[in-house]
């Protein structure tokens, strides 16, 4: 358990390549892994290491997010002292004006009694022991520590993420670039930063007064010459949710024990909003293979290699293969779906056949409950 740290989750995240899932929500509240939202992972990592003060800075399309996190109860963050704070931004281009939102809510950062802060994004899904990162940061004596993941799949995954040039002997950060998918090997910035609160405050003021508006993270990296930045190499599983295909692959990876055993551990559980669904009923005649199924479902048809969310009804003679079905969905008789992502509240009519493929899964967008 670590002390004297607060956490800020900055949701200024690039949504350009995942638009069909973010029409009504930020990346942070996209459903993932059958019963979670993207933000559940970083939020749980934060509370699992003992931090009790979390600020979420989000854009204006935050209904889904604020509904999900609520008072922070599911993460034990409904506290009298500290707890969860959510800040919304009214401007359109949040990604390039996040320092302004941070500056406007400076009083929150001032009032928090912790001397140190962890600044993180939500879209790097992992189950990380942040206490270990804190120990490494404090031992380094650097102004700041940034976490990275070394990958051999940079030509397919982590596209458009920051890459770090690291001195592997001293762990010092030498330079920063972007992953344009040119090479397989890269050190991907996980957008988790540790620093003193006063350093964060200083950087926020500087960034907000900078006339060339850009994201706060890119401002930090611009300051590389004025800062000593230490790096921390993370060896665990990281799933990066920034494109439709990476979202699709990330869900599918959760079907393999190598990934799911690392992400879902009983010593560091991932918490999410409780929905009080009944258990799932597997009716006689159903066939379910290699799938992740949430509670609240009634399954009569066939489900293979798929991730099924809460409250999904799968009727007779339905065939679902390689699909991601989010919550509150009914799939009527005889429908055949393969490589499809179905967003919330959709009814798939009787006999419908939908087909996408591995690289371009078909997305059926969320249906609004109102007209």
């Amino acid at each position: 358990m670590i002390k004297d740290y607060m956490a800020i989750i900055n949701l200024a995240e690039n949504e350009n390549d995942i638009r069909s899932l973010t029409t009504n929500r930020p990346i942070a509240s996209i459903p993932i892994g059958s019963r979670y939202r993207v933000i559940d992972f970083i939020l749980s990592n934060i509370v699992n290491c003992g931090i009790q003060n979390v600020g979420i800075f989000s854009a204006s399309n935050s209904r889904s997010l604020t509904d999900h996190v609520g008072t922070g109860k599911a993460w034990d963050l409904n506290r009298k002292i500290d707890g969860l704070f959510v800040f919304n931004h009214g401007l359109c281009d949040f990604v390039n004006h996040d320092s302004k939102l941070l500056k406007n809510n400076m009083e929150y950062i001032y009032r928090s009694t912790s001397d140190n802060v962890i600044l993180a994004s939500s879209y790097m899904v992992c189950n990380m022991d942040l206490a270990e990162v804190v120990h490494a940061h404090e031992a380094s004596g650097a102004d700041m520590t940034v976490v990275y993941k070394q990958t051999d799949e940079a030509d397919e995954e982590f596209l458009n993420c920051y890459t770090l040039d690291v001195d592997e002997k001293t762990n010092k950060l030498l330079g920063v670039g972007k992953n344009i998918g040119f090479s397989k090997k890269a050190n991907i910035c996980m957008e988790i930063f540790l620093m003193k609160k006063e350093k964060l405050v200083e950087l926020i003021y500087k960034s907000a007064h900078n006339l060339n508006s850009k994201s706060f993270i890119s401002f930090i990296f611009n300051e590389l010459g004025n800062l000593s930045i230490n790096t921390y190499k993370y060896d665990g599983i990281v799933l990066c949710i920034n494109t439709i295909s990476s979202y699709y692959r990330s869900n599918m990876k959760m079907l393999t024990p190598e990934v799911s055993d690392k992400l879902f551990r009983s010593d560091r559980p991932i918490y999410t909003k409780i929905k009080d669904e009944p258990p799932t009923l597997y009716v006689k005649g159903c066939q379910v293979q290699n799938s992740l199924i949430a509670d609240g479902c009634v399954i009569k048809g066939k489900v293979k290699n798929s991730v099924i969310g809460r409250y999904v009804d799968i009727e007779d003679d339905v065939e679902i293969e390689n699909c991601i079905i989010l919550q509150n969905i009914r799939i009527h008789k005889g429908a055949k779906l393969s490589h499809v992502i179905i967003d919330k509240n959709v009814d798939i009519e009787e006999g419908t056949e939908l087909k996408g493929n591995e690289t371009f899964p078909l997305v059926i967008e969320k249906k609004n409950l109102f007209k």
Binding site: G33, S34, R35, K73, A74, L255, S260, L263, F264, P269, I270, Y271, T272, I274, D276, E277, P278, P279, T280, L281, Y282, V283, K284, G285, C286, Q287, V288, Q289, N290, S291, L292, I293, A294, D295, G296, V298, I299, I308, Y311
Partner: protein, 381 residues
């Protein structure tokens, strides 16, 4: 303090000794039920869904598990500023103290709790029944008939009527007489152990009953007969729907099989009237490449590689390859390794059945005690 219209008192102190190993470490209302619930969740959720926000829980026998489960009542929305949930165990006073001697005595000893809310009506419930019921409708009936007490009744088959407390009513549903487990029942209306009393009347009878040295201080045996003898207006409220007292290992197992029957009227999966419970954070259930599930209920945190037929599987259970579970109930965190046959069994929490085993003969219900390790029967070569 603001007055409450109706306060619920849930009797949850009973041992339920006929449930055997299941109640060795916890009171009957705390026994797990239906894949992710505990028996008392049904009464608590009925209260919550009926808009009752003040609930007293009378505990006595081994209450630790029950207390841990209920906490401050958050899952049922009972964490309230005014009202909410209170567990009410027996207590000492300046002149000594007593265990709860009977159901009526348990409420009598907590009249001060009720007086604190000064309710118009008191709903007395049993914490160990499985059913979904809107108590608002029963209260409406109570008010419309200007009753002093209303007793919920359910029509049972004549052949079974002698197992219940039977209400004999007139054409208007007014109770004329009450017989506890009659040999020759005159009616088939069985008391469900759910009462609404007008509080002033209840208080009067509880005080009189407490002064009577010969009384067993029981609602069915003493309070109801005394009120009837004094010609108080007692009305039956007919309930139709699923209702079960899971008092024995057999009825506990049967109630689970009821959940799986395709035409069951338990309505567990009807989310218009949700049953709430306290849950641990677990991932979704993983169903393996060669698993086979048939007419079964499975829930969060389970990993299933084998076959599950006509069974109920609680959270966090592991079922290995080539293992077949049929007509069974597998409780939280049990691990059933590869090549095991389990039939007509109740496997309690944290049991580990090692590979190459057979549990249950398919005729009598086998119960494996919580935490037990059943060693592998594979021959050492």
């Amino acid at each position: 303090m603001a007055k409450k219209n109706m306060v619920a008192m849930i009797l949850a102190g009973g041992q339920g000794s006929r449930l055997g190993l299941m109640t060795k470490q916890m009171a009957k209302p705390a026994v797990p039920f239906g894949g992710k619930y505990r028996i008392i969740d049904f009464a608590l959720s009925n209260c919550c869904n009926s808009g009752i926000d003040t609930v007293g829980i009378l505990t006595q026998y081994k209450p630790q598990m029950l207390n841990a489960h209920i906490g401050i009542g958050t899952p049922w929305d009972f964490d309230r500023v005014h009202g909410g949930i209170a567990t009410l165990p027996p207590y000492m006073t300046e002149v000594g103290g007593d265990w709860y001697k009977g159901t009526a005595n348990a409420i009598y000893q907590n009249l001060n709790y009720l007086d604190g809310y000064n309710p118009e009506y008191v709903l007395v419930l049993s914490g160990d029944h499985i059913y979904k019921m809107d108590y608002r409708k029963m209260l409406k009936h109570h008010i419309e008939t200007s009753a002093d007490a209303t007793i919920a009744v359910i029509d049972v088959p004549l052949s079974e009527a002698s197992r219940f407390g039977i209400m004999n009513t007139d054409a208007d549903g007014v109770i004329e007489s009450f017989e506890e487990k009659p040999k020759n029942p005159k009616s088939t209306l069985a008391s469900m152990g759910i009462y609404i009393f007008t509080y002033d009347k209840l208080k009067k009878y509880l005080i009189e009953d407490a002064e009577n040295k010969n009384s067993e201080n029981d609602f069915g045996k003493n309070i109801i007969p005394a009120m009837l003898a004094n010609k108080e207006k007692m009305v039956a409220y007919s309930f139709s729907g699923y209702w079960k007292d899971v008092g024995t290992v057999d009825s506990y197992w049967e109630a689970h099989m009821d959940l799986l029957s395709p035409d069951n009227d338990v309505e567990l999966f009807n989310t218009d009237w949700k049953i709430y419970t306290s849950t641990e954070a677990r991932p979704s259930q993983y169903i393996g490449p060669e698993a086979q599930l048939e007419n079964s209920i499975v829930t969060e945190g389970c990993i299933i590689y084998g076959q599950v037929i006509n069974s109920i599987v609680f959270p966090g259970v592991y079922i290995g390859k080539n293992t077949r579970i049929e007509n069974s109930i597998i409780m939280e965190n049990a691990v059933i390794e590869d090549n095991v046959m389990v039939s007509k069994s109740i496997i309690l929490e944290n049991v580990k059945v090692e590979s190459h085993n057979a549990i249950g003969n398919g005729k009598d219900i086998a119960v494996i005690d919580s935490g037990k390790v059943v060693p592998s029967q594979a021959k050492m070569e």
